[in-house]
C-alpha cells in the first residue's frame, strides 16, 4: 500500500506549480479579475499547450488520458495559484460531463475542441428555488426546447456552449443562439465570474440522462475540493511566512503561542483536507464502493476547513490581512464561493448521513 505520489505524479505536480508561478503570478490574477470575464486568451492557450485542458480525457479526442488523481494534483496547484477564468467550468464541469454522457460524435464535436483549447463550455444547474440537489431541478425540456432560468452559472459569458441540466435530461445549448440571455451575477469571488442565464424556447441538443450525472459531478466535486486545498496551502504558507518576519514587542509574532497555535491548526486542517481529497480521487478512479461517501467527506471537510483556514490566516496577518493589497482576501473570497458550490458542509453531511445512517447502499452510482 502506498498513499502518496509516485514519481510521475510528483513530476506533474512540480511542473504545474512551475507553470502557474511563471504564467499566472498574482499580478496576472489581479489584472484578470479586474476584467469583466476574468478570462485571459493568452493564458488559456498556454494551459492548452501544457495539455491541461485535456488532462483526463481520452487520447482519441485529443486528451492526455491521465487519471482522476492527476486531475486532483493539477487542481490543487491551480487553487494555490488562484487560477482565474473558466478552467474549472470548461474542463472540470463541462468536460467531465461530456466525457461521461456524450456520444462519440458529440465528443468529437464538443470535447475535442475543449481538449485543444479552442472552445469553452459551462454547466447550468442551480435554479432560483433550487439547491445542489438534482431533485430540485425544475427546468424541463419540451420538444427539444428549453425555457426557464439558471443561476450561478460560471463563466457563461465566455462559454461557447452551455450544458443545461433539466429535469428530463442534460442538453447542450449554443450560447450564441437566440433566446439565450446571459447576465452577470456579482459574486464575492472576483476571479471566477457568475451569471444568470435565461432560456426562452432555445433548442438544446440532448447529451444524456440526468441519472448519468452522478459520476462527472462526483469528479468535479472532488476536483473543486482539491482546488480548495491548494488555496488553503497558499493561505497557510503566507501566514507562516508573515509570522516569521513580522515583529512586535521586539520578536517575530510566530514565537507567541496564540499565533503559533493558529498556524498549527491551519496545518492540521490543510493536511486533513488533503488526505480526504486524495482518497476521494483514488476511490473514484478505482470505482471503490465508498466513493460517494469519500467525495462527500472530502467536500464537507474542505468546505469548513477552507473557511477556518482563511479566518486564521487573516487573523495572523492582523491589520495587513484586512487590506485590499494583501492577497489573502482573494483566496478568502474564492473559498467562500467554493464552499457552497456543489453543496456546502451541511449539504454533504446530510448526504453522508443518507449513505451511512440510513444504510443505503454506499455506491458511486448514488452520488
Amino acid at each position: 500500500m502506498q498513499f502518496g505520489l509516485n514519481e510521475s505524479q510528483e513530476f506533474l505536480r512540480d511542473s504545474a506549480r512551475k507553470f502557474f508561478a511563471g504564467e499566472c503570478p498574482m499580478a496576472e490574477v489581479r489584472r484578470l479579475m479586474e476584467t469583466d470575464t476574468a478570462f485571459g486568451a493568452n493564458l488559456w492557450s498556454k494551459l492548452a499547450e501544457q495539455g491541461y485542458t485535456g488532462i483526463i480525457f481520452p487520447e482519441e479526442f485529443g486528451g492526455v488520458a491521465l487519471g482522476i488523481f492527476e486531475l486532483i494534483l493539477l487542481m490543487e496547484e491551480a487553487g494555490r495559484a488562484l487560477l482565474p477564468g473558466p478552467f474549472f467550468s470548461t474542463v472540470v464541469m463541462a468536460g467531465t460531463l461530456l466525457d461521461a454522457l456524450a456520444t462519440t460524435a458529440q465528443k468529437r464535436k464538443y470535447l475535442a475542441p475543449i481538449c485543444r483549447g479552442e472552445a469553452r463550455a459551462t454547466v447550468a444547474f442551480f435554479e432560483a428555488e433550487g439547491s445542489w440537489d438534482l431533485a430540485d431541478v425544475r427546468l424541463t425540456a419540451a420538444n427539444g426546447e428549453l425555457k426557464g432560468e439558471k443561476l450561478f452559472v460560471p463563466d457563461a459569458a465566455i462559454a461557447d456552449w452551455i450544458i443545461v441540466v433539466a429535469q428530463n435530461g442534460v442538453f447542450l445549448v449554443d450560447s450564441k443562439a437566440s433566446g439565450v440571455r446571459v447576465q452577470p451575477m456579482l459574486g464575492m469571488d472576483l476571479t471566477r465570474k457568475l451569471y444568470s442565464v435565461r432560456f426562452d424556447d432555445v433548442p438544446g441538443e440532448k447529451i444524456g440522462e440526468t441519472a448519468g450525472l452522478a459520476r462527472p459531478r462526483a469528479i468535479a466535486t472532488a476536483a473543486l475540493a482539491a482546488e480548495m486545498v491548494g488555496g488553503m496551502q497558499r493561505t497557510l504558507d503566507l501566514a507562516v511566512e508573515y509570522a516569521k518576519t513580522r515583529k512586535q514587542f521586539g520578536k517575530p509574532i510566530g514565537i507567541f503561542q496564540a499565533v503559533q497555535h493558529q498556524c498549527a491548526d491551519m496545518y492540521l486542517e490543510t493536511e486533513s483536507a488533503r488526505s480526504a481529497v486524495y482518497y476521494a480521487a483514488w476511490a473514484l478512479q478505482h470505482h471503490a464502493p465508498d466513493a460517494a461517501a469519500a467525495v462527500s467527506i472530502a467536500k464537507l471537510y474542505a468546505s469548513d476547513a477552507s473557511r477556518t483556514v482563511g479566518n486564521r490566516g487573516i487573523q495572523v496577518h492582523g491589520g495587513m490581512g484586512f487590506t485590499w493589497e494583501n492577497d489573502l482576501h482573494l483566496y478568502y473570497r474564492r473559498a467562500k464561493a467554493s464552499e457552497t458550490t456543489f453543496g456546502d458542509a451541511t449539504f454533504h453531511r446530510e448526504r453522508l448521513a443518507r449513505l451511512t445512517i440510513d444504510a443505503e447502499v454506499v455506491s458511486e452510482r448514488g452520488a
Binding site: M1, F3, G4, G254, Q257, A264
Partner: protein, 395 residues
C-alpha cells in the same frame, strides 16, 4: 498512489488472520470488564501464546524474536487484532516502547538479560518519566542519581506511571549531572522495581480507576551496568522511547474509533428523540456525519503518514497531527454519544439502566485525559509550529 495491499502485505495479513482465528481466546468477553489486577494473568498467558506463534513483537528485528515487519504490516497486525477483538498484551510498554529502546541502545548483556522476559511477559515493564514538576517540560525532571561505588543511589518521585503496580522493571530517567543544562545531565537507568526503597502508590484518576501510579524512590541502589545508553545521554534515549509512542499502534485506535462511531449509528436507530428515532433528527444526523467523516480522515491521515515513513524513512508532517487529531476527535465523539443518549449517557457501568454497560459515561470522562497524556494538545501544537512549520521556539 496505490491503496491496494501488496502481495507481501496480503500474505502477512492472511498468515496472521489464520493464526489469530485459531488461537484468539474465546472467553475474553467475560474478562474484559474485570479490573486489570484480576485479568492480568490472563493477559500474560495470551501474550505468551502470541510469542509462541512469533507474533508478540512483529515490529522487532528477526534476530530479537520479531518479524522485522514494515509499518504497514504493523498496522495490519493491529487491525487484525482489533477486528477479532483480541485481548491486549500484558507487557504493552515493554513490547511497544522499552524493548525497542533496549534493542537500539542496550549492551549485548542487557539485551540478553531483558529481551526474552519482555517477549514472554515474565517481566513486566513500566516507564518512569514524568514527575510532579516535570510534565510537558520533561527535561526539567529532578529525580537524582549519585554514583556511589559501583551503584547509583536514586532519590526522587515519579508520577503517571502506567503498570507501576505490576511492573518488575522500569525504564527510569534520572538526573546524573545537575551542573549542566537540563537536557544534558540526564541518564536512563533500568531499575528493578523490587529494589529496596521503591514505593508504589495507586493514583486515582477522575474515572475512579487507577491506571497510573505514583512511585517514590528513596536511596534505591541501581548497579552501573544498568545504565541504558551513555551516562548523560539519557535525553536521546528517552526521546527514542517517546517516538515509539506514536507508532503503528494508532492503527488499533482507528478500529476502536470506527467501532464506536458505528455503534453510535446503530444507537441512533433505536433511541427515540421527540417521538421519532434519533436517526431522523436532522441535527444529530449532522453531528454524526461530521464525526463519521473525521474518523475516516483520521484513518487517511495515518495511511499517508505510514506511507511517508515507508518511502522516506522519516516521519512526514502528517504524523505530527495524528495525536492532536484523534484526541480532540474522541472528545467530540464522546460528547456526541452523551447528546444522543440524553439522561442515559451519565449512567455508570454498575447501573442496571446503563446502555452498553456504561462504556459511554466512562468514555466521556476518560476522553478528558486524551488531550493531556502522551503530550498535551498544547505541546503537539508547539511541535507542529516549531518542527514542522519552522516557527521560532515559543518556550
Amino acid at each position: 498512489m496505490d491503496l491496494n495491499l501488496t502481495p507481501e502485505e496480503v500474505a502477512f495479513r492472511d498468515e496472521f488472520r489464520v493464526w489469530l482465528q485459531a488461537n484468539v481466546p474465546k472467553d475474553w468477553a467475560e474478562w474484559r470488564e474485570k479490573p486489570l489486577e484480576e485479568s492480568f494473568p490472563y493477559l500474560r498467558a495470551w501474550q505468551r501464546k502470541l510469542q509462541e506463534g512469533g507474533w508478540a513483537a512483529v515490529s522487532w528485528p528477526k534476530d530479537y524474536g520479531g518479524r522485522s515487519a514494515t509499518l504497514m504490516q504493523q498496522a495490519i497486525f493491529w487491525e487484525e487484532m482489533a477486528r477479532l477483538e483480541a485481548p491486549p498484551m500484558a507487557n504493552a510498554l515493554g513490547l511497544g516502547l522499552i524493548g525497542p529502546t533496549i534493542i537500539a541502545y542496550g549492551t549485548n548483556a542487557q539485551k540478553k538479560r531483558f529481551i526474552p522476559g519482555i517477549l514472554s511477559a515474565e517481566e513486566i515493564w513500566c516507564q518512569g518519566f514524568s514527575e510532579p514538576n516535570a510534565g510537558s517540560d520533561l527535561a526539567a525532571l529532578q529525580t537524582e542519581a549519585r554514583l556511589a561505588d559501583a551503584h547509583y543511589l536514586v532519590n526522587g518521585q515519579k508520577i503517571w506511571m502506567s503498570y507501576g503496580w505490576v511492573g518488575d522493571w522500569c525504564e527510569l530517567v534520572v538526573r546524573t549531572d545537575p551542573a549542566v543544562p537540563k537536557h544534558k545531565g540526564l541518564t536512563v537507568l533500568l531499575v528493578d522495581m523490587k529494589s529496596p526503597g521503591v514505593e508504589v502508590r495507586p493514583l486515582r484518576q477522575m474515572t475512579g480507576e487507577s491506571e497510573f501510579n505514583e512511585v517514590f524512590l528513596r536511596d534505591v541502589r541501581v548497579p552501573v551496568e544498568n545504565v541504558l545508553g551513555k551516562v548523560n545521554d539519557g535525553w536521546n534515549v528517552a526521546v527514542s522511547t517517546l517516538m515509539h509512542e506514536r507508532g503503528a499502534y494508532g492503527a488499533r485506535l482507528i478500529l476502536i474509533f470506527k467501532r464506536n462511531i458505528n455503534r453510535l449509528i446503530e444507537l441512533t436507530r433505536k433511541v427515540q428523540r421527540n417521538g421519532r428515532p434519533a436517526a431522523q433528527d436532522p441535527i444529530l444526523r449532522q453531528k454524526l456525519a461530521q464525526c463519521y467523516a473525521e474518523v475516516e480522515i483520521m484513518r487517511l491521515n495515518q495511511l499517508r503518514a505510514f506511507s511517508r515513513i515507508t518511502s522516506t524513512g522519516a516521519p512526514g508532517p502528517e504524523g505530527s497531527i495524528q495525536k492532536l487529531f484523534w484526541s480532540e476527535l474522541n472528545q467530540r465523539l464522546q460528547q456526541l454519544a452523551q447528546e444522543l443518549l440524553g439522561p442515559y449517557g451519565q449512567l455508570l457501568a454498575s447501573d442496571g439502566h446503563a446502555i452498553d454497560k456504561g462504556i459511554w459515561s466512562y468514555g466521556y470522562l476518560r476522553s478528558r485525559g486524551n488531550t493531556i497524556e502522551a503530550g498535551t494538545s498544547e505541546v503537539q501544537r508547539n511541535i507542529i509550529g516549531h518542527f514542522v512549520l519552522g516557527l521560532p521556539r515559543s518556550y
